[in-house]
Structures are given as structure tokens and as C-alpha cells.
Symmetry: C2
Subunit: 129 residues, 2 copies
DNA sequence: GCAAGCTGCTTCCAAAAAGTAAGTAACTGC
DNA sequence: GCAGTTACTTACTTTTTGGAAGCAGCTTGC
């Protein structure tokens, strides 16, 4: 058993913080399929706001996980693609996908409080009402 | 190239949403080491607020990822432990850990805007000032 | 037998992040 | 020169998180 209460590895904390920001996992998953443009990402994700997508892309670019390429058209287009560091993330995404396939029930979304506020049995009392 | 713009698998979306809530990955990582009590989790994570920890534990319990066991002491204690579904998550956490070890630079935290507001090269202009 | 401490949460309030919608900039086509 | 497209940004609202204090049920000290 764990006996020392070691303070988690700071690298792991950084990575968990990254994936702990909303939409990061989904964005990465899509980019695993290949480069993608802003509008295409918006469309594929469906429910993300452009404001937040823009923010995430900047975050991920700043962290060296993806790169932004501008093709000065004339029909100007920008494209986001994973760097080596970003590509290396595929194993995480892949395992997450496998876990989801095995364990996530499609019937019960369970997303952010929808449909299941509290499945808790007892109302957190110790002894009596 | 991807040509269909398939709408991501909803199971994956659910899983990504789960991990996309702040602290979820860290909580799971700690519980991988074995059962843990509320106060112990607070201590090990260090910077999470008790309010949010409580919320996350309820979420994860509602989703069947962990279970709460109350040992009615007398020195009463509650313990959180992973279910089979939760244990199965170890591969994801493991890959995330491996990625972090290989790719995360300890010197540059890059967490939520700290130290790197924008490493962006050009100020997002198309033609001229 | 009662104040003081511990664990495990919950409540209240302020700050930060995400959602919504409209706006902007550089084009294209008409 | 006006509508449409792409890629964002800005302003404003709602939700989520953080921080700290409160509270319930015990135990210990005196």
C-alpha cells in the first residue's frame, strides 16, 4: 500500500491539468486523424464555442502540442496540425477510446449532472435524521 | 485525409468530458495506488478545494467509477476506492504518465497562462498593420 | 458534561472559465 | 459596393471553481 503520501509528479500534474481543461481531449482526438481547420474543428466538435476553441488552440500551440499553418490562399486558410509532442499523445487518446468503448454506456450520458444528480444511497448522515 | 467529418463517438465524448473536468485525472491517479480517504485526497492533491473534491467524488461515484465505503469506526472513516470500471482506467492514466515523463518540461509549467501568455509569432494579421 | 479537536463534508461568496452572440478583417463573387 | 466565407475577437451572461468558514458526529482532556 501507499505509505508515504508522496506529492504527485509535477509532470503528471501538468499533463493532467492540460487534459483537465474542457475540450482538450476532443480537439486532440480530432487532430489525430489529420490536420484540421478552425471551422472544421468547430463543426466536428459541434458544441464547443468558438471563443473557447480559439483559446484551447492557442494554449496547445503555446505548449508545443500543435502548430498553426497559414496558407495565404488567396482563399486564406489556416490549418492546425499536431507536432511530434502532440502525435505522441495518441496512446493516451487511444486508451481513453478503448476504455470508453468497453465501459461507457451510451444510454446514460452522465455528462455534467444531466440525468444523474445524485445516485447516492444515503443522504450523508451518520446516525439518524 | 479524413473526408466524412464523422461526428465523434459519443462514448469517447463522454469519457473526454469526464477527464475534461478539472482534477478528475489526478483523483483517479491517486486512487490507482489504493483506497483513500477524503482528507488524505485533499492532502495529496494539495491545491484542490474541498468543495470541488466533494463534487468530483460524487460525480465519479454516480458514474460507477469509484465507491464510497463508510467504516463506522467508532473513529468513523470513509474511504474511496475504484470499482472495476475505475481500475480499468489505469491504462489511460499510465499512458498519460508516460507521455508526461517524455514530453513535459519541468522548467516550463505552462499551466493556465502562467509564464506563457502567447508564444504566437505573428499578431494574427493577414496583410499589413 | 462540556469545551476543544478531528474527520468529512456543505454552505456562502468572490473569482475564473466557458457559453452565447454579435462584430471585425481580409478577401471572393456578383 | 454589398452579401457571403473564414477565422477569429469582443462584450456580456452563466457556470464552475476556489477559499474559507460552518456543521454534524464522534473522542479526548479535565
Amino acid at each position: 500500500m501507499h505509505d508515504d503520501l508522496s506529492p504527485l509528479c509535477s509532470r503528471f500534474l501538468t499533463a493532467a491539468d492540460l487534459l483537465g481543461r474542457r475540450w482538450t481531449g476532443v480537439i486532440l482526438r480530432i487532430l489525430m486523424d489529420g490536420p484540421c481547420r478552425f471551422g472544421e474543428l468547430t463543426e466536428r466538435i459541434g458544441t464547443i464555442s468558438e471563443r473557447v476553441l480559439s483559446e484551447r488552440l492557442k494554449d496547445l500551440e503555446a505548449e508545443g502540442i500543435l502548430e498553426r499553418h497559414v496558407d495565404p490562399g488567396p482563399p486564406i486558410r489556416s490549418e492546425y496540425r499536431l507536432t511530434e509532442k502532440g502525435q505522441a499523445f495518441w496512446k493516451v487518446i487511444d486508451e481513453l477510446g478503448k476504455w470508453a468503448e468497453r465501459w461507457v454506456d451510451v444510454k446514460a450520458p452522465a455528462q455534467k449532472g444531466v440525468g444523474a444528480k445524485s445516485t447516492r444511497a444515503a443522504p450523508r448522515k451518520r446516525k439518524s435524521a
